[in-house]
């Protein structure tokens, strides 16, 4: 399909014992994108721009979208282990890896387990660490649409906000959100959205070039956590964007794409 300039396709591929739903687009070096706690929802400007230089691989995690749940996966470390096998099976060793929010936590866990599997790592507002100041927003005490809205600093002036979060979500989107919330719940309920050992485990990621991107006004994962990530990964680069919430890729799309392209180049 072609919502923007770039053509994207969706297919199911066999990986690590599952039929993995995966969206692909673009050409160039591979870039794996790990979606956040509400799943891969829509084709956005930032993906279109990145697809010009990279071949994007956007899987739906087991239990999200239409990828079947793996019942044995009970936490994020289980999921990270599963994904490393899936990446072997997909022949994507050596790819760049980028994760958003819950997907950022997932990417960080995978990087701690196997830093040499990836070329470069981009973490965008990743969960996974208990913020030294503030708390991670509890997505389960609000409905999905309210959670999405809380992820923006200035939704009214974000052109793609309505696309990501329509006033009246279609029944398909509402169902996809509920499915995503359920799997996110299974992965993150207690402790909520973090793993206490992660900051120490992250020391190993010093071997992997890493970019950390955060919105200064992130209401979902407080920006204080960015410092912990930055300090835990020696040599990492941290970019905090002003006037930006939990979705720099949507709220500051242009700036975000420039940052990522510069880093991956």
């Amino acid at each position: 399909m072609a919502d923007g300039a770039q053509v994207w396709t969706e297919e199911f591929v066999e990986a690590a014992g599952a039929q993995l739903q995966i969206v692909r687009a673009g050409s160039g070096d591979p870039l794996i994108i790990l979606h956040d706690e509400l799943g891969h929802q829509t084709w956005l400007q930032y993906q279109d721009e990145l697809a010009k230089d990279y071949s994007l691989h956007i899987p739906s995690h087991p239990g999200f979208g239409e990828t079947e749940r793996q019942e044995w996966i009970m936490n994020m470390r289980d999921l990270a282990g599963w994904y490393l096998e899936a990446i072997d099976d997909l022949g994507l060793n050596g790819a760049n890896l980028m994760g958003f929010s819950l997907g950022g936590w997932l990417a960080a866990e995978m990087a701690t387990m196997s830093p040499d599997t990836f070329r470069k790592l981009v973490l965008v507002g990743p969960a996974g660490i208990r913020p030294p100041a503030g708390e991670i927003y509890d997505m389960f005490l609000v409905v999905a649409r309210d959670f999405m809205t809380a992820g923006f600093h200035d939704p009214d002036n974000t052109p793609e906000f309505k696309q990501a979060c329509p006033d009246e979500p279609t029944p398909e989107l509402a169902e996809a959100w509920e499915v995503a919330r359920e799997e996110a719940c299974r992965l993150s309920w207690r402790p909520y959205m973090y793993y206490p050992g992660l900051p120490d485990l992250l020391h190993r990621v010093k071997r992997l070039p890493t970019l950390i991107v955060w919105g200064r006004e992130d209401n979902i994962v407080p920006v204080s956590a960015s410092q912990v990530y930055h300090e835990s990964i020696a040599g990492s680069r941290l970019s905090v964007l002003d006037n930006c919430g939990h979705h720099p890729e949507i709220e500051k799309s242009g700036e975000f794409v420039r940052l990522v392209k510069d880093f991956l180049a």
Partner: protein, 430 residues
Amino acid sequence: MFIGYFTERPYQDPKSGYFGATGKPIMDLNVSNDIYDAELGSALYNRYLDEKIYAEEMGFDGLMLNEHHSTPFCMGGAMNVEASILARITNRAKIVLLGNIIPIWDDPLWLVEQLSMIDMISRGRLVSGWVRGTGRESVAHNVEPHYNWERFKEAHELIVKAWTTPGPFRWEGKHYHYRHVNPWVKPFQKPHPPIWLPGVVSRDSLMWAAEQRIPYIMLATEMEPTRQAFQLYHDTAAELGYQSGPQNIGYLWKVHVDETEELAEEAGRKYVQGPSNPFLAGNEGTVNPALLNLPGLTSRRRVLPTQAVATRARGGNSGPAGALGRPYEQQVENYTIISGTPDSVIPKIRHVLETIRPGSIFFWDGDGAMTHDDAMRSLRLMGQEVLPAVREIAEELELPGPFEVDPATSKPYTGNSPATAPAVEVQADA
């Protein structure tokens, strides 16, 4: 017929601003306990216990307690404490716990010990029910809602095994792990206290109860969907090759009796005032749709007919928040509230019994904004006039309770045959 008495034990504080139909909105988990008044709380706990003693004197067969957390509409956060006191200060009535929220216990072996002690001290008067709890409970005790049903079933298996199998034994389940299960206290009743299951919406729970031959109690649901849900129970039992009957099903609803119709209406209207359970039909308070739909807590598809009605009453699942707000008059019309003099309530209760055909009923009274005097007047008239009449009606309609006919066997109940399936399949540590 088994007749029980129930009050949800609301925290009634006229000064809090959360009291009465025009008070502040009570959204689930949005009421801070900084308003909690110790003198008032203490007085209310004692009032509700006093009313239970009087209910026993007035001839009720069962004193029912329930449990909710982090909310003013039910003060029984640690219901087993109240049950322990009743075990000692009452003499005859069953102590009916509907129920302990077993999935939220990280250590159900502790629950095994508490319930056994209650059964011991009460000399075998415990009826031990289980519930799955609402989203509020999963949040309040921070237990995985997505494993609620798995934990429910595993906790049940562990508890029954701990009650019935000589220890010590090992338990290596999916959610519970014990290296040494050997609780010293064992239940008074053999092989163990009856287990009942109350519910509102979950088809899984009702089917499970039917499979286990456990009585299922519907809580304040509308009559016709309740009848349909019970039919599902009876059909499931028939498919499984046993005959269920009134002894397998129970119904709780709001019944208040008063000296005059004027007093009855005045008190009846108090059901829908003050802090009361927003999850059940016709109460004040606002539900949080995110909590109602906590991921994985109840199957999104496998719900009972009663759920569709409850959802409609809230104006659907969408929107930021829905208030139940079903007016008092409407509840009176559909019999979910019956309030009147003995002469006017008895025919209405008869209509409910004819429609649903339960073997157990629970009168939910003294709730909302009702005072101690309201509750005591009603209890007295229930004892003097209503209970004897209802027992006659039940006799005529052939509605045996679970202590007359064993729900597991449909044979006459014997003291040592608790109402559960003869054998429980144990998954873990077989």
